[in-house]
């Protein structure tokens, strides 16, 4: 299977099966709705936390999509077939993550500025939130894939994935949230944004190695 066809398969499976990105978007909207109910609807207080809340909720929403990444293929044997394919498993894992990013992280990234503005963030923040959500989504998917691959075959795999992945989500959450907060208050935001991009790039480069090792271990 050529990698382009694999990418199309992964993206269409993530898009089409079980509601696709709509479920993730629904979770995202629901979690963002809970926030003003929990901390009170005063506009000033909400506006102060809106970009950060949109960012954290994005991390949680991409966390919940991870169970679709390897689990089904592991159960129905497709992962064994992919292991036998001529392409190295590292590349296969990277393509799977890329498909996941196209099908769920990108729609979530489009929803992130909408949620932030709805919560009361200034609309001039929207482009930066969109771009950093797109880049941060890469880091979320490629790091989350490690957790999803490691917890293959485990009891309570979903909860375990979250426990594994959340500590690894700390740097992108800090860098992205810091860049947006700095931009909002007129401070230099480029360093945080550059660090977010660097972290995402290293996750894309190194994550597939760990994912492939974890998949081989689960299939052994």
């Amino acid at each position: 299977m050529s990698l382009a066809r694999l990418l199309r398969r992964e993206a269409s499976l993530a898009w089409g099966r079980g509601g696709g990105p709509l479920v993730a978007l629904g979770f995202y909207a629901g979690a963002a709705t809970l926030l003003p109910l929990a901390i009170g609807p005063e506009a000033g207080r909400l506006a102060a936390v809106a970009p950060g809340a949109a960012w954290v909720t994005l991390a949680l929403a991409s966390l919940l999509c991870l169970d679709r990444l390897f689990e089904r293929d592991f159960e129905d044997g497709a992962l064994d077939l992919l292991l036998l394919s001529p392409a190295p498993l590292e590349l296969v894992c990277a393509v799977k993550c890329l498909g996941q990013w196209l099908a769920t992280a990108a729609p979530l990234a489009v929803a992130a500025p909408v949620a932030a503005v709805a919560l009361g963030a200034e609309s001039r923040l929207a482009p930066l939130i969109l771009v950093s959500a797109l880049i941060g989504g890469l880091a979320f998917v490629f790091l989350g894939g490690i957790g999803a691959a490691l917890s293959l075959g485990a009891r309570r795999g979903g909860l375990l994935t979250a426990v594994i992945v959340l500590p690894l989500y700390v740097p992108p959450v800090i860098f992205g949230g810091g860049a947006i907060a700095a931009f909002a208050s007129g401070l230099p935001w480029l360093p945080g944004f550059a660090l977010l991009a660097a972290y995402a790039a290293s996750a894309v480069a190194l994550g597939p190695l760990a994912m492939a090792a974890a998949c081989r271990n689960a299939l052994s």
Binding site: I146, L150, S151, G153, A154, R155, R156, G157, L160, V163, I164, L166, P167, L168, V170, P171, I174, F175, G178, G192, L195, Y199, L206, A210, A213, A214, N217, A218, S220
Partner: protein, 282 residues
Amino acid sequence: MAAPAWAPTRRADGRRPAACGVPPQAAGLPLSAAKANALNMALAPTFLTNPDRFMAFSRWAAPLFGMLAVGLAAAGLWLGFTAPEDYQQGDTVRIMFIHVPAAWTCMFAYFCLGGASLLGLVFRHALADAAAAAAAPLGAAFTFLALATGSLWGRPMWGAWWVWDGRLTSVLVLFLLYIAYMALRGALDDEAKAARASAILALVGLVNLPIIHWSVEWWNSLHQGASVFRAGGPAMGPEFLWPLLLMALAYTAAFGALWLVRIRGEVWRRRAVALQLREARA
């Protein structure tokens, strides 16, 4: 029938075999691990890789480290409690002698965990895996100690039990990594798969730990910066530096002693499992 691999056998040339302490099946090793073991003998520090030698070594090394820890801690605490009060912090400065070595030790424990995981993953060595499994709860305990004593120190000094500051948060994330490691290890039924999966996680954490550390340091920190290991020498008087260094050595020795005891327990457990399997097969 060949002797089981865990039995202390000798080869014809009189050298001890490079066997693991348990049968390959019970230790979760694929039988092709003999090749990896040969590589292991060639590359890894070989003295303690033989479980028999390790058990003989740790039998006296663990109590020795333990006594060393008790002696050093007694001396460090004596010096610490007889040290003059700090002109700024008063009596609470003595919390430092409990808190700072715990914070150092929890980092050290993670590097031990990562190193043992690397050896276990690359050389498929059962003892390295046992060492990794034994280090994680200890590291988590030292991390918890650092967090708890730091919180007790923060209340009188900063007026808050907890602040979301860089140093505190990075230690908290380290604690979460230990929790994730132990959770993953406990959640997989197959011991071999659990060992390899958690080793991969430990290495991912090892790569991420400096980044997490820097990323949280990126915030403005309320915690004081490094005051012992810094350019231009330590920034504290010898009456505080001596007990601190003694306590640091005591904590390291205590970690070593507990680690050895836990590895011994793990080896005994695996031997017991191997014996049970043999009984069941007979």
